[in-house]
């Protein structure tokens, strides 16, 4: 908690300095990011759009796969299979992001370019695939918990009425786990949004508002990582990067709060007892 407060404090202490000279509205909605020119432009809309793009595309990939994997674990897998598959998914979660970035850059990018004949393999699509790999374990493990926490009595009641396992899953288990699965999805997206190394190495780094999934973008985290090393402490640019940190912090905070809200609000009412 204290740490949380400290983080906010320091981000603000550093980042707020920027807004002495730059209007926050221009900062967020400005379409041009030229931090080192004279005069500089600190408009992070392209960066936000870059983050949004990779987050959305990666969710499009990760959500069905992540939820599907959770359903598999919860309902399809036999005991033996579960004991193998579940740790494997957890291992996927612990793959360091720099390794995914490396693979995306060295292996996937040339392949994409070759096969699809696109200008650059370092683009939204490639980054999104790698990010999806990071988001899937989050989505899977939280949804699986949710599917599990649907009381066994309810599943048994359905089966005892002659429902197939699939019918029980769709009519009783999934409705009961819906909020958990929603939470899982949002947390997965939040993870994709905040991930740094993958987008730094794979997204291409162009600060433009994307128009196609094969465009290069420069999401917020990669901007910080790429530029922080080179900018003098307390320069405007340095402050701007902290301001980006603030924006990123609040976006992910928003995601997390929404997730917490959903999971509290719609918490499974438990077995219907007295």
């Amino acid at each position: 908690m204290l740490v949380m407060a400290l983080i906010v404090l320091f981000l603000f202490a550093e980042g707020a300095g920027l807004f002495v000279t730059v209007n926050p509205i221009d900062f967020i909605f400005g379409k041009l990011w030229y931090p080192t020119y004279d005069p500089p432009d600190f408009g992070i809309l392209p960066l936000i759009m870059g983050s949004v793009a990779v987050t959305i595309i990666s969710s499009v990939i990760a959500v069905p796969l992540g939820l599907g994997a959770a359903l598999y674990l919860a309902e399809v897998a036999g005991n033996r299979m579960r004991e193998i598959v579940k740790p494997a998914v957890e291992l996927l979660a612990s793959l360091p992001s720099v390794v995914l970035g490396f693979v995306g850059m060295v292996v996937i990018a040339p392949m994409l370019q070759e096969w699809l004949d696109i200008p650059s393999g370092l683009n939204i699509f490639n980054a999104s695939m790698m990010l999806a790999l990071m988001a899937i374990p989050t989505i899977t493990s939280i949804s699986e918990d949710a599917l599990h926490s649907v009381p066994r009595e309810l599943k048994e009641a359905s089966l005892a009425l002659g429902a197939t396992r699939w019918e029980t899953l769709t009519k009783v288990t999934i409705p009961g786990a819906l909020s958990g699965m929603g939470t899982a999805t949002i947390l997965g997206m939040s993870r994709a949004m905040g991930e740094t190394m993958v987008v730094l190495m794979v997204a291409g780094g162009a600060s433009q508002i994307p128009t196609s999934i094969f465009d290069s973008v420069r999401p917020l985290p990669s901007t910080i990582a790429a530029e922080m090393g080179e900018t003098p402490v307390d320069s405007e640019h340095y402050l701007a990067l902290f301001a980006i940190g603030i924006v990123l912090f609040f976006i992910t905070l928003g995601f997390n709060l929404v997730a917490a809200y959903i999971s509290n609000r719609f918490q499974q009412k438990g077995a219907a007892t007295l």
């Binding site: 080192t36 370019q113 780094g205 530029e227 090393g229 080179e230 003098p232």
Partner: protein
């Protein structure tokens, strides 16, 4: 033993790293660490006193000099080599030469297709450096005349990354220090002038520059010994081996 920390320009990085390696072989017990983050960082760390040597592939800016003065620091500049910033394309590209004006048009976004500058009918993928890098600052001053790079340019964090990106992309154009040229990329001549030691030294190549190491005040002790080594013949041989141009 003593310790020297070096940080800064990614252009100078290979030279600094190799020099440190060789120097440490001769001076057992001396510990040198080398980081490559960018010229801005190199100069910054001299001003802030966080490193012994700050590498830079550009000269200090007025703002930086002022900041140094405010902090009571007197940076001393050591030229350790010369460099040409070379426009590069994928080897599959038929083009051989671009003029400064064409380069400017490409980088500012006026030219979007290779056929407009005499190449095939393909889109141009522009690769540039993060705007805080020394290489970019020189390129920006000498080629772009301080106009803005097109926003869809892919920004890479280091010379090596630019070379990589161009090597892997048929439509790409980028620019790197001469030391980064290799068989996977093709260096272009600029207005008919080939980047080389000679054209760098006689300044006929339009995007040539010097490479620096900065210290806070005149160097002493181990730092001085190291800088002397870099400036010596043995040191300059390393500069040459790494593909750059010795200053003498």
């Amino acid at each position: 033993g003593g310790k020297i920390t070096i940080t800064g320009s990614t252009t100078v990085l290979p030279v600094a790293q190799k020099a440190a390696e060789v120097f440490m072989n001769k001076h057992q017990g001396l510990n040198i660490t080398v980081a490559g983050t960018g010229s801005g960082d190199g100069i910054k760390s001299i001003i802030d006193g966080t490193a012994d040597i700050g590498d830079a592939s550009r000269d200090m800016k007025k703002k930086e000099i002022k900041r140094a003065e405010d902090k009571g620091v007197t940076p001393v500049k050591h030229v350790v080599g010369l460099d040409c910033i070379v426009p590069i394309v994928n080897p599959s590209n038929q083009l051989r030469d671009l003029t400064l004006a064409q380069l400017k048009d490409i980088y500012t976004g006026k030219v979007k297709n290779w056929k407009e500058v005499g190449g095939a009918d393909k889109p141009v993928v522009v690769i540039s450096r993060d705007s805080s890098s020394g290489t970019f600052e020189v390129w920006n001053k000498k080629v772009l005349k301080k106009e803005r790079v097109r926003p869809d340019a892919q920004l890479q964090a280091s010379n090596g990354a630019v070379a990589q990106a161009v090597a892997g992309n048929k439509y790409a154009i980028g620019y790197v220090g001469i030391g980064y040229l290799n068989s996977k990329i093709k260096g272009l001549t600029v207005g008919g002038v080939q980047a080389s030691a000679k054209t760098a030294m006689d300044k006929s190549y339009p995007v040539a520059r010097a490479l620096f190491m900065f210290t806070n005040g005149q160097p002493k002790g181990d730092v001085k010994a190291f800088l002397d080594f870099v400036k010596s013949d043995a040191g300059q041989k390393i500069v040459k081996e790494e593909g750059f141009v010795p200053f003498k």
